[in-house]
């Protein structure tokens, strides 16, 4: 009996010793790539340490919806971010067939550990807090918040944000809209926060919310293509602005290269052209103050 107990006691001890030993092995081996990483900052195609060799893996959430993507198929290169991804890939030296897409749910994109993509394009707002845990590229778009209301309702034709105070407002989880609503509209009742854009739209259609606040290009798209009876009441700036960047793993070697690519696209006018092509109506909504 005593012997058996001793043996039983030894099993976990040995197991721990073994695993702790392995753990420290991992430590030393994982240090090596980071030291080499700092030295290889050139953006030549052959030096790029991509997630998969010879392929640029771009992440985005599913469904990939307009105007950022079209037909829920990022690989067709349509939509603002769809087109942008291929423009960045081109700058980095990848041709269209060397770009692969990965479905990365938004709340997975910032999880610790190795990323399963090279960069993620998902209308992600850059904030200093977020940047503690991931890398952001140079911003490629500055978004305004769009207010979508039922056409002909009391809220259609408002001129100031104060007029939204008594409204139940729907927003999408993970977007700047929640903070924008809380800080700038300060509605009497809590905003409703839905997990994805489809649920926001459903709630709006079923009159569970009086208005929805989403990025302006999306508001315009929803008005034109998805909702029969909606009007864009206006736009306003999120607190501290709302700049979108490509998301990369913390201290990724690719960050400076993606930065360089976006800057080049900005300088040669490609970025403006893509923006104009897919987000054309953005300036047409009245400003709400």
């Amino acid at each position: 009996m005593t012997k058996l107990r001793l043996v039983l006691l030894l099993v976990p001890v040995l197991a721990m010793a073994f695993v702790v030993g392995c753990g420290s092995d991992d430590d030393s081996s994982s240090d090596e790539p980071t030291t080499t990483a700092t030295t290889a900052a050139t953006c030549d195609l052959e030096n790029l340490a991509t997630y998969k060799d010879g392929v640029l893996t771009v992440g985005t959430d599913s469904p990939a919806y307009p105007p950022y993507f079209e037909d829920d198929d990022p690989s067709n290169g349509k939509g603002f971010e769809g087109a942008l991804a291929y423009a960045i890939a081109d700058q980095l030296g990848f041709n269209k067939s060397e770009v692969e897409w990965a479905t990365i749910p938004f709340n997975v994109s910032f999880a610790p550990g190795d990323k399963k993509f090279d960069f993620d394009l998902n209308q992600i707002s850059i904030t200093p807090k977020r940047a503690e845990n991931v890398d952001f590229s140079t911003p490629y778009y500055t978004a305004s918040q769009g207010v979508l209301v039922p056409k002909g309702s009391e809220l259609d034709g408002i001129t100031s944000l104060d007029q939204l105070q008594d409204a139940t407002i729907g927003v999408q989880l993970g977007t700047t809209a929640f903070d924008a609503v809380e800080q700038q509209i300060q509605p009497a009742s809590d905003p409703k926060v839905f997990d994805n854009s489809n649920d926001v739209v459903t709630a709006f259609e079923q009159e569970q919310v009086d208005a929805i606040v989403v990025d302006l290009p999306q508001a315009i798209y929803l008005r034109d293509a998805e909702l029969d009876n909606a009007a864009v009441a206006g736009q306003f700036e999120a607190p501290g602005g709302d700049q979108w960047g490509a998301l990369l793993g913390k201290d990724s070697e690719l960050t400076p290269c993606v930065d360089k690519a976006i800057k080049a696209l900005d300088e040669d006018g490609t970025l403006e052209e893509i923006t104009r092509q897919w987000m054309s109506d953005a300036a047409k909504a009245p400003e709400l103050t």
Partner: protein, 277 residues
């Protein structure tokens, strides 16, 4: 003299027993230290720990998010308290319906059986989705639009189906002779059920029902999919804002604060039940 011998032997036996129990305690302590210390050592020595610590256990993120999460948790508490009462009543009614032998009630019995099968067998999250987004879409007059109410109805349906089955098991576990004896002393069928069968059945099923309630107290978090700002949803918002998962840990702690006491009450009742029988 002959009496001293068993006394000495008893003392020796006691001493040996004490020594054994002390050794047992010592081994338990060492084993605990080794197992938990070892597990902690593995986690703390892992190469990813500093990042995980920062992204999951940040005191700063905890402090800033906790007050709002707590505020949202109050809604969770209110919801599960009301739902629990509704579940007990509806569950018992369905169980009674399913256990009666009255021929005229056959269609109701069938309906009750289908109710249990359907609502117990469907994932709760789907029920909430269907009730929250499906019912208002019918645009029937009188159908509520308030998502809290709709989610509450969905949870009540799901859990009353579970609890009905537990009640039914309790009722059928009371031996037929109990009813027979009650009828023999002049009680009506309803009286026999009310004063003889149900009190015994309910006492017997308290542990499994409390167990279902523990599960319910966590599942109220699912109402968040209807956009309701309860603890889990607020934790998600905070997590997504700063890319730090600590608010989810804060929410988890709050759910534990209500489920752990429930578990201890359950242990207590179970232990007492064992002594009684």
């Amino acid at each position: 003299m002959t009496r001293a011998a068993p006394g000495e032997r008893r003392a020796a036996r006691e001493k040996a027993k004490l020594a054994r129990s002390r050794r047992g305690q010592a081994i338990a302590v060492i084993s605990t230290i080794v197992v938990f210390g070892g597990a902690a050592a593995i986690v703390l020595n892992s190469s990813g720990w500093p990042v995980v610590q920062e992204q999951f256990f940040s005191p700063e993120a905890f402090k800033t998010s906790f007050p709002r999460i707590l505020e949202g948790f109050w809604l969770d508490i209110k919801m599960f308290m009301v739902i629990e009462v509704a579940v007990l009543i509806i569950g018992l009614l369905i169980a009674l319906l399913r256990t009666t032998g009255t021929a005229a009630l056959f269609p109701m019995r069938m309906l009750a059986a289908v109710y249990c099968d359907v609502f117990r067998g469907t994932p709760v999250v789907i029920l909430i989705y269907l009730f929250g987004f499906g019912l208002p879409a019918l645009e029937l007059s009188g159908v509520p639009k308030d998502p809290i109410l709709l989610a509450g109805i969905a949870l009540t349906m799901a859990y009353s189906a579970y609890v009905a089955e537990v009640f039914r098991a309790g009722i059928t576990s009371i031996h037929q002779t109990q009813t027979d004896a009650a009828l023999a002393v002049g009680l009506t069928r309803v009286q026999a059920l009310r004063y003889v069968v149900l009190p015994q059945a309910i006492r017997r099923v308290r542990p499994p029902i409390l167990n279902d309630f523990i599960s319910l107290q966590k599942d109220v978090a699912l109402v968040s999919i209807l956009g309701i700002l309860e603890a889990f949803k607020i934790a998600q918002i905070e997590t997504n804002r700063d890319f730090n998962y600590t608010p989810l840990i804060a929410a988890a702690l709050l759910y534990l604060v209500v489920t752990i006491p429930m578990a201890r009450i359950l242990d207590h009742i179970t232990a007492r039940g064992e002594i009684n029988s």
